[in-house]
Symmetry: C2
Subunit: 294 residues, 2 copies
């Protein structure tokens, strides 16, 4: 057993991961050429907590609420109104990827950040990350990244896998924290992203998306566009990760079953748990497979 997975209990999940990596790196059947060793992980609920609201959705909500305060005419309109009212149905609709809700949110986002430079956006994300704390844990979100997953990143990297994060959340939001938090370079962060325009030496956000949302089939599509390959290893925790897990040689699905140390919920992951057995994905139980969570 490797020393690098110290926060993992010795169980089926850990054994399956180590066996896959050992087979992939030893000459013989199952060997994977180093060039093809791409690993891809979802972020919200796979690398850090996503309750009561995915972190990026909370960040967005605050930005839209602020925009609505500065322009009161917006406050009467959705999605601003739904966000200011903390309308649970609206957040559920986003979680369920309902097209109308997603579209309303996308348009509001485009308006909020149109013309902003990367420096301006980064400063806003940095402020959020230092000022906002999880209600339940009282700590900034960057301290609520799962330690076993960081160990898995280090273990995969030590075996010449190139680790990518592929989240439905905003690519540029994650890039601000990628290097300090995950120890992976920005170019390995994939997510929903705007296009940019370059004019007179300045890069600015446009109001168009670059490709589609990195959710569902959008995940392997974005991974292929970025890496030029589908993943050899993938990790997720929800139904929006199914296509990414399907596209990978080895797949792990994290199950949130630890109400004491994190949260216990199955919402938005019913179909993926059901598929796991059929597809031979490795189920990782937070409660049973992890010695430490944070």
């Amino acid at each position: 057993m490797t020393d690098l997975l110290a926060s993992w209990n010795d169980g089926e999940a850990r054994r399956a991961i180590e066996q896959f990596v050992e087979t992939a790196t030893a000459p013989g059947p199952g060997f994977i050429d180093p060039a093809d060793r791409i690993a891809a992980f979802d972020n919200d609920g796979t690398l850090w907590i996503e309750q009561p609201l995915p972190v990026q959705l909370d960040f967005i909500s605050r930005a839209l609420a602020e925009a609505a305060q500065q322009d009161p005419t917006l406050a009467a309109k959705d999605p601003y109104k739904a966000i200011l009212d903390r309308d649970a149905r609206f957040f559920a609709a986003i979680g369920a990827q309902e097209p109308a809700a997603i579209r309303a949110l996308e348009e509001a986002l485009a308006r909020t950040w149109l013309g902003k430079t990367p420096e301006e956006f980064e400063a806003q994300v940095s402020d959020y990350m230092t000022q906002v704390r999880s209600e339940r844990f009282g700590r900034p979100y960057t301290e609520l990244v799962y330690r076993p997953m960081l160990e898995l990143f280090a273990y995969l990297s030590a075996n010449d896998f190139r680790v990518f994060v592929c989240s439905g959340g905003g690519r540029d939001f994650m890039r601000v924290i990628a290097e300090a938090t995950w120890d992976i370079p920005r170019e390995r962060v994939i997510g929903t992203a705007p296009t940019y325009t370059y004019e007179e030496g300045v890069i600015r956000r446009s109001d168009q998306l670059l490709g589609g949302l990195a959710l569902g089939p959008g995940k392997p599509e974005h991974i292929f566009a970025t890496a030029g390959r589908l993943p050899a290893f993938a990790g997720g925790n929800a139904d929006v990760d199914i296509e990414m897990l399907e596209s990978a040689g080895f797949a792990m699905l994290l199950v949130h079953d630890d109400a004491d140390r994190e949260f216990a919920y199955t919402g938005a992951a019913e179909r993926s748990v059901e598929l796991a057995t059929k597809e031979g994905w490795t189920l990782v139980s937070m409660k049973d497979d992890w010695k430490t969570v944070f």
Copy 2:
């Protein structure tokens, strides 16, 4: 002086490059954080020959000519007709980025590869690379990569720069040769690219571009989207590289002035040569600065 640039003569260009890299990597003013050490290079005319026609344009021409042979109704239409007739005006219009010519070419490309899997496309590129030879040198194009530039890649990598290629040519065309030819992973190849769709486990080309053409302002736009940063070091050889060179901390412009060993031409590079002095870019003369070309 470094041993890694053995094919470079000791002159102003080599000294400027080494001085930039030494300053960037030593504590003090001009130091560049390793995370920010992004280097980006154009491909055609910067890394390999682009005469009489950029390699990818030759590849495309052959694919369109083949499509026109299989469907004779296409042969009467532009751009198929212009390509079958080897119409010099059409190729010049592409080189000058005339919108109508570019659009006609894009549409023909989308049709040619619509629905193709990456494996099918890669096989076609591999065949081309092994079968087709440069008329002048009688060798496959992958043997006509400039040795001094490969040395520069190795020198930058040894100093913790992450080297990217950013070409107006097709991203997926270059990715086929990136690892064996340049020793850089596919995810560091940026270029004009289609979107893909993922359905039932299969990635296929769509008929849409992902972002715009990687030419002119499209170069820094694509580099920022991929790397999350603008380049610290950039290299190019033509007017379509101007914005990328402008966006970089250090810029080098390769001048094709060596009719004996390669080609001598200034077409499509007039404006960039003019700008070089004004902007303080390092001019690299193929004739004077390189001991060996291939």
